[in-house]
């Protein structure tokens, strides 16, 4: 459905990371990223799909419950292309509406209703930027072998 494709940027994060070494096994390099509780992997022909069921808070990809990674050939060489799905981003996008409705319908909630509608609108914009940047940085650093931001160690 083309109309869905036109608006799915609201809850989808897409991007690509160039692969400096065309012979590098990108999926193998990324495997530590998915060693998190509640994460399952599916390997396909040139693709890797992950699913997250109730991920832990400090999981670097906790905002995304599904994602597909693919090795593609571009004009400039091989690249890892990712398409991540985030329900938290979708709900955050929708959240201003019920708070604004409360503010409109029930006058005692006018100020807090509008304030929280504004807070969630700002939070969505921030999250759409932050979560995309974090995911891109995570994949890029892992593929470059320079990652230092593995999941925070939880003391035993």
């Amino acid at each position: 459905m083309s109309w869905l494709r036109a608006i799915d940027w609201i809850w989808h994060v897409r991007g690509s990371v160039p692969l400096s070494d065309p012979y590098q096994n990108a999926f193998e390099a990324l495997e530590p990223v998915f060693e998190e509780r509640g994460t399952t992997l599916e390997h396909g022909a040139g693709t890797l799909t992950f699913h997250k069921d109730n991920p832990d808070s400090q999981d670097k990809l906790a905002s995304f419950e599904r994602g597909t990674l693919q090795i593609v050939e571009t004009d400039t060489g091989s690249a890892l292309r990712y398409d991540l799905t985030s329900h938290p981003l979708l709900w955050c996008f929708v959240a201003p509406a019920p708070f604004a409705a409360l503010a409109y319908a029930a006058q005692p909630m006018r100020i807090p209703g509008y304030v929280f509608a504004g807070i969630f609108a700002a939070l969505y914009i921030a999250g759409r930027f932050i979560e995309q940047r974090n995911a891109h940085k995570l994949f890029r650093d892992r593929l470059a072998g320079t990652s230092t931001d593995s999941a925070e160690a939880v003391p035993a």
Binding site: D56, Q58, S63, A95, F99, P112, E131, V154, P155
Partner: protein
Amino acid sequence: MDAAVSNGVEVVGVQGGPVKRFIFTHFQPAVLVAMILFWTFAPDSIAKASVAIGIGIVFKIALLGMERISERHAHWRLTWKELASDLFYVGMSYTLIKYAGKHFGDDAIIDAIKHYFHLKTAWAAQIPILFQALAILLIFDFGQYWMHRGMHNWKPLWLTHAPHHHITQLNALKGSVGNPIELFLIGLGIGGFFDFLPRAALLAGGIGMAIGAYTHANIRFNTPRWWSYLFNTVEHHSLHHSPDYDSSRTNYANTFIFIDRIFGTARDSEAVHVGLDDCRRLGIKEQMVYPFQPLVGWAKRLRAPRLPEAAVAAE
């Protein structure tokens, strides 16, 4: 820096220079004094509920900033998703739960009783404002202590409170995270029977809000010993949120930990891990339906197709 050991956890004080250590040692008492001075001497044009709400929001934002300066645990660090989820609960507290409390909760019930019995307690407003605020806090905290303790000892109440114990990290907003039924119940009190000044209620509310926020904050303070003896702290409350069953049945009071000392439930210690069972967090939908799990299970059992008993017996 000297380190002590509490509950198997190496306790390290605030790290950094003398200014940082000074601020994170005296912050909690200084805010208490500032609250008392502000609400006692502010002109009537400022001393109103909307200002109190504004102070509450700014204060919690400041504490979230302080979490980055003197962080308690890296694995409690606030993420975007956690912030978005927490703000949903904060939004509910400021809108629906507040509305329900005002129209269907203690305020409405007490007003009706007072009206019916013609109860008047105008003398309460003649007491010095600091003592009025103290009385409001003590009355509320005493009731809150027993409601909270009841939630840990009676399953129907526990079903409303357990979602709050499923949080897996602490931060200044976590006090608002929980099932709305629990948040409604824990907010009930009988202070409304006394006609205290609104200004005293705002002072009491400010102090309760600040201490409630400290107890959930991911901040390492050098809390003075006298403060820890009187007031609830993040150390006490992290222990209350421990997955260890016995530890979670301690430190019930919201503001005054000495109420726990009186009833023998205080424990001066802390926990690094917080959560229930295998420390999995609950999503918003799970938090909302959690108290109704037994009903849902019962309904599913009723709807499940039954095997003919004779066929089962024959097998």
